[in-house]
Every structure is written in structure tokens, then in C-alpha cells.
Symmetry: C2
Subunit: 387 residues, 2 copies
Amino acid sequence: MTHRASLPSQLKLGFLGAGQLARMSALQAFRFGIQVAVFSDRPENEPVQFMTPHSSSGSFEDVSALVEFAKTCDVVTLENEFISSEILQKVQDLSGIPIYPSPRSFALIENKLIEKQTFEDAGIPVTPYQLVSTLEDLTTFGEQHGWPYLLKSSKGGYDGYGNETVRNFDEAKTAFAKLGGDKGHDILAEAFVSFTKELAVQVARNETGTMVYPCCETVQENHICVAVLSPAPIDEKYQKKAQKLAVRAVEAIDGKGIFAFEFFLTNDGEILLNESAPRPHNSGHYTIEGCITSQFENHVRAVLGIPLGSTIMNKPAAAMINLLGTHNRPAETDHLIRALSAKDGHLHVYGKVQSKTGRKMAHYTLLGKDVQQAYQQALSLSKNIEI
Amino acid sequence: MTHRASLPSQLKLGFLGAGQLARMSALQAFRFGIQVAVFSDRPENEPVQFMTPHSSSGSFEDVSALVEFAKTCDVVTLENEFISSEILQKVQDLSGIPIYPSPRSFALIENKLIEKQTFEDAGIPVTPYQLVSTLEDLTTFGEQHGWPYLLKSSKGGYDGYGNETVRNFDEAKTAFAKLGGDKGHDILAEAFVSFTKELAVQVARNETGTMVYPCCETVQENHICVAVLSPAPIDEKYQKKAQKLAVRAVEAIDGKGIFAFEFFLTNDGEILLNESAPRPHNSGHYTIEGCITSQFENHVRAVLGIPLGSTIMNKPAAAMINLLGTHNRPAETDHLIRALSAKDGHLHVYGKVQSKTGRKMAHYTLLGKDVQQAYQQALSLSKNIEI
């Protein structure tokens, strides 16, 4: 890994994916005078395609198209987990263009089974799990860890897609088939954990150092993050523990880039790693205004190999509300007046062309002195927004 | 003027000009999910052209090209003073697309003589001036107000271009000819003012209200702004006076958009309006991190007709250093490590293709507790940067 001390103006950062995470990262790349290219696997115009003349589309499995794209860039980075590490490795080898986070790091987390083993080996407590291959395994796991439990496809999965909650053997059997267990796909059973909070920590890392963000709380509804509170309203010792585990996790995969780690704080005061993401994460959107250096800026800094910025919060507290689509219609953000008029309220709209009920369309961050108060205010200020 | 409560995702904001001011404004437009189009009068690729697929080039005097461009946008705005209000009015009338700041507002300040009269009529003290039409006028002005004094072309002028300091009649005669006084161009004589500080205040205004930024100090070398300190290290009563005059000035021209006003604080404790700009201004770059809402965000909010954001500072003090080109070469920002590693230091590179000695290429903002200390630190952290 080389340490960069210079930013040529023609430097081009390529994103594999063109959604809101690439968009917010691109905005930071632009601040450094860097050019941005995107490779999208969607036929429709995606948000970032309105922000750069350097945009291509194609399949995430088309190695030669990906290689051609990479050759137009100086560094390539990810915004999702939809391209296999094997393909990423080929693209890097054939194009000669570095991809960060590296295919090697990604290989350690793309498969949920390997991910769990990687982190367990590094001494990081994870939620109890098991590879289930037969119908008998489904019963055994339920008997050992209790019902309900979760079945997860070991590959893919995003915002709860690829996850199924099963309350009994019949549901387990149906979910197992739905997730492809019948066809030999690796399926993971994961015990339900009784938790008091869901937490997240972002970590930026490259050859110049490691920067860990505050431990925040994520509020989930139907497996979708609806709000983030930072710092998490929990005892500081738990915050520090989660931060320590997050740093250990990024070191375990020798990560270069920005990473997010999601934890459960259990009823017993244990902190268990639940999921990881090798990219900017919804739990870190509040850092745009909430921290001296946003997760997106540190993502860009990290993959370019320049020094990382401070992750200290600008104000004592931040609350972020995800604004999910309320209609199926051409996107339009309505009833904004209250949210825009609030003193330390910050609106981000992702520029998606179509709104769909439940789709992540925008977010709203409110900074303040007290995190619970900021959360309640942010909810109130944003509740009329239709999108 | 209509008050907007909704942001359709396909809304397109057009910039007349494609330099760093349009660039930084575009970054804020993108945050609201808005699309950006630029019309550049330069043959080379300008910074914003790397940030949007909607880019055209042409002459700022070609009404039909400007009309065609405007028709692709929902709202058009300015990033410079290079298009006459007469042409702007025609473009607005023929395209049916609103331009903000309005051609009517701009007509009151584009000509330095009319500008002075507009602000004087509003009760705002300005530097002593006179229209000079003959060589005799040059002598008379020198005798009345003392030598040296300034000769200014009444139209155009930017970073000291179009301004000449004259120390005696011979210099005045030469400068008068150089500025086109011989050819009947309106030339303004302006008295040298003995000042202790140069100040600037940005004001955002639209139908939803008016927001005034802190009064900052601009540090000038050879008529080029090299640094900005905010708040200005002067008695608060002078800060408030300058803010009050700036608000009065924007009201005098019924401004919609962001405006910057530059003042002299004289040895006698008077505050005199020196120049105005109907656009984001170099003196307000520090607001990106320094204030809750940056001048660029409030510019976008103002011209779209949505509520303006708070202008309160995020930290007690901010210092901004302009990073001027140190070489004539393809642009490259070198020796960045110290600046990037500073805790609350923020680097912005404008993405210009070519560096030229003295050209505005980038800027560096440092936030802190004390403005003089922040200024000294920012100078020290950025002094090694070559660009």
C-alpha cells in the first residue's frame, strides 16, 4: 500500500454502483478536485449518473466490461456487496487498477459463514450461528437456541433481504427452500439475541492510520434502519467496547477504506457483532454534519491513501431520520418547510428518479445538545415530509 | 416571487459560468437531489464540466445560445458579473425561465457608478468617488481627495482587474487610456481610504426571509484576497454595523440569492461600502464548515425559493487561506500531509485542469477557538502546499 502526498486534478475515482452511497462519496471526491466515474448495473438513470459525464452501465458479472471501466480510473471502490471477491480480484489483476477495499479483504466478509469465522478467530463475539445443510439441522438449531431464529443466505443480503425469521419447523423448511438451501446454497441459522440496543460503529483505515467514529444506535423497523442516534444513549463503557471491537474487526480483514460494523448490546451487557459492510453505511450518514470528517470524506481519503480526518463530533448529539418513500410516483420531496427551517437541520435528497413506498429516498439530520431530544425533534420536524 | 415547498428530483439549476463558485454551489444543489447544468464561456474544460453531463459552452453575448440553455433549466443563476443585465433580461424574457439574482437587481450594481448611487440613496456610506470624463477631471479629483487614488472601469472588474492605482497625473492619464476612458467608457475615480481592516459580509435573501452571515475580515495582497478571518477581529459594534449595512444593501436592490458586500473599516471608525457581488464570494468560503448553512447552500436555497438556513458559526472561529497557483503546470496539489492531518482543517480543491501562478486553485479552512490563532495555524499548516 502506498502513501499518497499529492492530488493530481485529473485523478479519477471509480465507483462500482451508482446509488446514494456512491453519490455522497462522490460529493466528497469532488471537494478534493477529483473526477468521478460510475459503473451501474441498473438500466435506469441512477443518482450519480446526473453528477458526472463518466458513467457506464453493465452487468456486475461481466468481467471484461468491469475491466474496461477500471482502466479509465486511477482507483476503484465499492458501494455495495453485489460483486463477488473473485470477480473483483480478476478485474484488479486484468486492469492493473487497485480496488479498495481490496478483493482480499472483501473475500473475508462476503460470505456470512466465513465472515463469522474471521471475526470469531479475531476474538470478536458474534451472534450464535451454524451452517444448516439438512432439514434435520433446522430442527436441531431450534432446539439448541430456541425459536424463533433467523435463516440467512450466506451470500448477499441487504436491508433484511435474504433474511427470514422462522418460528417453527414448517416456517424453517419453507424459508430454507426460498433462500435456495434446496439447491445447495449455503444457509446460515442465527440465534435470536435478546438485545436492548442495536449499535453501529464506522471505522476508516489505510496505511496512514485508523480512525474510529462514535458508537451510534440504529433504530430498525422491519429490518430497515429508520433512524440513527449518535452517540448511542448507553453507558460509555459499552460505546468504548463496541469501538474497540470495530477496530479489531477492520484489522482482522486488513481493511483499507471505510467499514461499518453493527452490534447487538444484549440484555446481559454483552456486545455481539452482527453484520459488517465494506463501504459507507446508512448508520454513518449523520457524520456529514455531525463529525469533523464525514464517513464519505474518510472513505475517499482512505482509498486514495491520504491521511484520514478527525472523527470527533461537531456538536454533542446528532439524530438522523431516513426518509423512506411514501408514494409510488416520480420522486418529489414535499412539505419541507419545517425541516428546512430548523436551526441545525440538514436535508439530503438522493436524486432518485422514482419514489417507491419504503425506498430510501433522502435523510434528515438534526444536531443538538441531547441525543434523545434531537431524535424527538428530528422526528417531529420531518414527519410531514412526503416523498 | 413564489415560495416553493417541494423539490422534484428532476429540478434543474443552471449556472452561467463553470468556475469554482458554480462548482461549490453545484455540490450543494446535488445534496438536495437537484440536477445541475452549466453554460461556460471558456473553450477548456472547467471544473463543473467534470461534475455533470449537462454542460454547454458558448459566448456570454450569444442571446440565442443562452436562451436555449435556460430552456433546459428550471431556474438559472449567476456565478460572475460577466453577462450584462440587458442580456440577462432578454434571456429571461425569451426563455420564460427565471434568473436569480434577477436582471433587475443586477442592473443596479453591474455598473460601478450606478452601484454607488444605489447604495448612497439607501443611506449606505460608500468610498468617495466621481465619474471622470476628461483629463481635467483626473487632476481635480487628485487635488480634492489626494494622491494616490484609484481609477476603475465602471463595468466588469474582478480581483483587481480593471482597477488602477494612480500616484500622479501622468499615471492617471495612462491608466485612463488603458481602461478605455479615451473610447468613452465610463471611468470612476475613487479616493484611497485609510483603513484598519477590510471586511466582508454575505447575505442570503428570498421571499422566505433574510439571513446575514458573520462579519469577517479579508486579507488582501495585490488586490487579491489571500485569507479570510471570521469573525473579524474587531469590536463587535463594527461587526454589527457592517451586517446592518449589508442587509440594507441587499434590500436596496431587492436581491434574491446570496450577495457579498466588502467594506472598509476606516481609521476614524467609519464603515464604508467598497464593492458588492451578486453571487457566492471568496470571503464566504469558510462558511462551508464554519457555519451551520454555507453560503453555497443558502445560495441554492435562496434562488429555489425555499427557506434559508441558519448562518450561525459551528465553532467560535474560522480562518480560510486561498491556495493560489505556485507553478504553471497541469494542476496537482502537493505536500498535503500536514494540512490534511490537522484536526479541524478542511481542504477544497477546485479541479481546474491547469495551474497558473497566482490562480485561485484551492482553499484551506481551519476552525478553532480563537481567530488569530486559527489564522496563524492555517498559514503554517498550508504553507508547504504546492499547486
